[in-house]
Symmetry: C2
Subunit: 239 residues, 2 copies
């Protein structure tokens, strides 16, 4: 049974969509349950049929955004196992990270509040694990084992370099005004950089790609399952 209450209840779906729009418009700190209910066209009590508290609703909303990112990654890996190549995976992570619009648009104050809400719901580590750099760090050993990384450098150094590149390119993509304007696409520049730095001279064969993609997708799916569990815990049981 799906943990996503909105798959069972149209009103719950409206509540989530209204919450999302209000967060995008006004941030978290000015959000009220009365406004959410009004925008969703339901009574306030209806909101509490599905979420035990306003805080749970907010955490659940952001968790769904993380879920979307993870599912997009898995879908891409399933559709095209070559996406597991570091020079494909890095830009994939940056571009899916770029689409976390809710989290990306928060002001500093709202971000602080969200962090507190997440911490209080015991999900700080899980949200950290969903970050592009953390996801990549988690799967570097898999890439190494399948020969997708050159083996003339310590894996720890390669992981460090990959983390720094994802962070640096990710920031540059999210704040283009702070970075020089490239001639090409940022993701293409990142792909080129990762290929040069981390990939072996000899391309791995399709079997290695497929095996690596399967393992990486499995790891991402485990994180996805944990996010689904969190979402389940933010909802009223039995709703």
């Amino acid at each position: 049974m799906s943990q996503l209450v909105e798959h069972r209840s149209r009103k719950a779906a409206r509540v989530l969509e209204s919450t999302r729009e209000l967060v995008l418009d006004h941030g978290i700190r000015k959000l009220t349950v009365a406004e959410i209910a009004k925008a969703a066209g339901v009574g306030k009590g209806t909101v509490y049929l599905y979420w035990p508290s306003k805080e749970d609703l907010i955490v659940g909303l952001f968790a769904r955004e993380a879920l979307t990112l993870l599912e997009a990654l898995v879908a891409r890996l399933d559709a095209d196992p070559a996406s597991v190549l570091p020079s494909r995976l890095a830009p994939l992570l940056v571009s899916t990270g770029r689409r976390i619009t809710l989290a990306n648009r928060l002001t500093a104050g709202d971000f602080d509040l969200l962090r507190q809400l997440v911490r209080q719901s015991g999900a700080r580590e899980l949200f950290a694990d969903v970050m592009p750099a953390a996801l990549c760090e988690a799967v570097m050993p898999v890439l190494h084992r399948h020969g997708l990384l050159r083996n003339d450098r310590p894996l720890a150094d390669q992981a460090f370099a990959m983390h720094a590149m994802l962070t640096g390119f990710g920031d540059a993509v999210l704040e283009p005004d702070a970075a020089p304007r490239p001639a090409g696409e940022p993701e293409a520049i990142l792909a080129d950089a990762v290929a040069r730095l981390l990939e072996p001279a000899t391309a791995p064969d399709d079997a290695a790609l497929a095996a690596a993609a399967t393992e990486v997708a499995a790891a991402v799916n485990r994180t996805r399952d944990a996010v689904l569990d969190l979402i389940g815990r933010t909802q009223v049981p039995g709703a």
Copy 2:
């Protein structure tokens, strides 16, 4: 004549040193002129002999930190022109950036206040120019012109990649807990990455290195002069 009032007055030097220690201990928002004067062993009026206001004193303090960084860069380039090689310059910028202890240790609230003080003294752009990534971006054309960058990629893309790498590696160095633990030194990993990505296969000759180092040092010196001018403007004229 030196713009640095502390070169002419021992009491001014003590005021600066005391201010620095108090900022490191308590941040900016809790800083008082009475405390600074007491720690420096002077009267409050003495502080106002050298700086027109508390705000000027603070901006002057941070400007001196920027000055230290710029002078360290120029000294390095003068001592060893090979430092101008991208694979040498990038880690040099990261390691000198790491030593901006005053700025690096500010809490978010103090950082916001500093930004306001800097903006009010009309020095926002200058402080931005001192950032490692901005310094490097400014000199990329010089490196390109002297053949220190491979020429099979657009310079704009190389500048973008360099910016992202300095940002990513810089962040990883400043917040090691958020990054995977490398086997080697972060600066060495960055050097290796930059060499592979940006440097030509054929090493440039010493003449090119020397010429490039001279131009880069000149550019850094121009920024240094601007910082000295700012410092002069934060002090009481004739003090």
